[in-house]
Structures are given as C-alpha cells and as structure tokens.
C-alpha cells in the first residue's frame, strides 16, 4: 500500500483542527533555537543555548497539551543535562591545560 493511500482510510478520532497561533509560534521558536544551538561554536555558550532550547521545548510540549512531558523536559533538558555538560567541560579543560 502506498503511503499516500494510507491517509484516506485512517479513521480520525477527533475532528481535524488547525494549529493555533501559540503552537505555530513555538514551533518556529524551537526551530530557531535548535539552529542557534548548532551555530554557536563555543562549547560553554552552546550549553547555555541548549538550556534555553530545553525551556523552549518544554513550552512546546505545554502548547501541544502534554504537561507531563513539559515537567520532565523542564528539569532534565533545561537544568540537569546542561549541568552535566558544564561539569564535563570543566573537567576536560583542566586536563588540556
């Protein structure tokens, strides 16, 4: 079965809606944030950008009605992962010096 043929036979559980303004905005912001993380070349600044990106992702999940994932992303993505990366950077730099 072709992929395009599939869509027609799938029963829709809810009437299809359009994304609201908040959802479109946050999708664009997340795309911009992800690009910024890639473009920042200094590792320490990159970690801070990653942390901000984590907050953006958390808002994205909230806008798409997944508050449980928001809570996880807020703590893991915005706090714990950047902290682990910063600690690793501190360790690696000391060895380099």
């Amino acid at each position: 079965m072709s992929m395009s043929g599939c869509a027609a036979v799938i029963p829709h559980s809810a009437p299809l809606g359009l994304m609201n303004v908040l959802q479109v905005t946050i999708l664009i912001l997340v795309a911009a944030g992800a690009t910024a993380v890639v473009l920042v070349r200094d590792p320490v600044r990159q970690v801070i950008a990653l942390s901000v990106y984590g907050v953006l992702l958390a808002v994205l999940f909230l806008a798409f009605q997944a508050p449980d994932v928001t809570l996880s992303e807020l703590t893991v993505g915005a706090v714990v992962v950047p902290l682990l990366l910063l600690l690793t950077l501190a360790k690696v730099r000391r060895r380099e010096e």
């Binding site: 799938i10 299809l16 449980d68 360790k91």
Partner: protein
C-alpha cells in the same frame, strides 16, 4: 573516488532522500488526528478502572507498568555505570581541588546566586515531593518529581560549597535510596505474583472516590518509589561528576 564523482553520488542520494521525504509528507495524517484505537479506549475506561484522574500516570504505572519498570532500570543502570566508571582505582590518589593557575583567585560565589538558590531550595523540594506523590491526581509522576527533588540538591551545591552538598547527600545513603526506589517498584510487582495475580497487577484498594490522594492503589505507591529512585539516581550522577571535576585525581607512577 575523486571529488567530482563524490559530488554526483551526494546529489543523487540527496535527491532520492528529498523525493522520498516529500512523498512521505503527503501521506501524513492531518494535524491532531489520532489513528490508533487505544488512546480513545483508555480515555473512556481509565478513571473508572483505576480511580486515578491523572490518566497519564494510570497508563505509566498500571496499564504499561512493565515498560516503565524497564525504563526505571535504564536510569538505574546509568547511575550504576557512572559510579563504576568513576570509581577510585588502585594507584589513584585524591587531592583536594586547588586553583590550577596561581596568578588569579577563584571567584567566590556571588551573593545574588547564593540568595536566589537558597530561596528556591524549599519551594523546589516541596514541588518535587508534591509531584512525586500526586501522580494519581495530576499530570505529574515519579519521574518529574524525582528530577525536581534532585534539582533541589543541585541548588544547595550552587548556593553553598561542595562540602555541604557532600554532607547532605552522603553517597552511601543516596545509593541505598536508589536501591530502595528501584527495588520497591519491582517488589510491588512480585507482591502481586505472591497473591496469585499477574505481575504488577493493581492489588491495593482503589479508594472510594476518583481523584482523591489516597485513591488509585499501587499507581500512587509505584510513583512514589519511582520518585525516590529517580531523585537518588540523578544526585548520584551529578555528585560523581562534581567529585571528578572538583577533586582532581592523579595517577601515581
């Protein structure tokens, strides 16, 4: 392969990828459509079956509790792995952190950071504890609550010194908490088996009223144990890495 050939191979590959990608995009279901039957079924029956109004938790800790047990042990294994990799080896000796470059002083923790961190410790602890123990009534759960509890420990590190952090989170106690959390989850499952029920069956009384804190049987209990396990696992990982960074080790020759 010379650069020209390589470029043509790339162009052909990229064109193929783009074609398949666009073809795939045209077949995507519309925004907001949910093709599977299970979500709708769960939405209809979950509250009546479990007395938990936090349906996400009911799914995580009852309907697919076995999957969650696996995820739990992924984190457990990660914390154990960090502990094993960063353990003290024979021939390694530890020395306290000192500034590696002698021509400058270590900047002291600023009062602003210290104050904000100290102000946030209490609310973070309460929030984490609330999230971990109210999975049955809200879209929270042990994982979110546990990570937030661990964040409170990290705030104490930010506000004070590493030594204070070490004193309030002795590794032996944290290791024990992690084991109790992971073991508690598995033990709830085994208790069901001991009663002649399938593994992880919700065998506790569900409470009379959906949405009450005391409702939902083992869902609340499992969430509580997950919270302990997750908080301990994150504190273990962070404090092992802190120790690595702050106490530099040198190999003796």
């Amino acid at each position: 392969m010379n650069p020209a050939v390589r470029r043509w191979v790339f162009v052909a590959g990229a064109a193929g990828l783009a074609a398949f990608y666009l073809w795939g995009l045209t077949g995507l279901p519309g925004f907001g459509s949910y093709p599977g039957p299970y979500g709708d079924i769960i939405n209809r029956v979950a509250v009546a079956q479990t007395n938990a109004t936090g349906v996400v938790s009911a799914v995580n800790f009852a309907y697919r509790a076995f999957d969650t047990l696996g995820e739990e042990f992924i984190l457990f294994a990660a914390a154990v792995g960090v502990s094993v990799v960063l353990r003290h080896l024979r021939g390694e000796r530890q020395r306290p952190a000192r500034d590696e470059s002698m021509d400058r002083n270590v900047a002291p923790t600023s009062d602003a950071i210290r104050m904000v961190s100290l102000i946030l410790v209490g609310p973070t602890l309460v929030m984490g504890w609330y999230l971990a123990t109210h999975a049955q009534t809200s879209p929270s759960g042990g994982f979110q609550g546990g990570v937030m509890l661990a964040t409170a420990f990290i705030l104490i590190y930010l506000a004070g010194e590493f030594l204070v952090f070490e004193r309030i989170s002795p590794l032996a106690a944290i290791d024990a908490a992690e084991a109790v959390g992971a073991g508690g989850f598995a033990a709830i499952g085994v208790s069901a088996v001991a009663m002649g029920l399938p593994y992880l069956t919700n065998f506790l009384p569900l409470g009379s009223r959906p949405g009450a804190v005391s409702s939902s049987g083992t869902i609340a209990l499992i969430s509580f144990f997950v919270g302990i396990e997750v908080a301990a696992a994150f504190v273990v990982i962070v404090s092992e890495l802190l120790e690595q960074t702050l106490l530099s080790r040198q190999e003796s020759r």
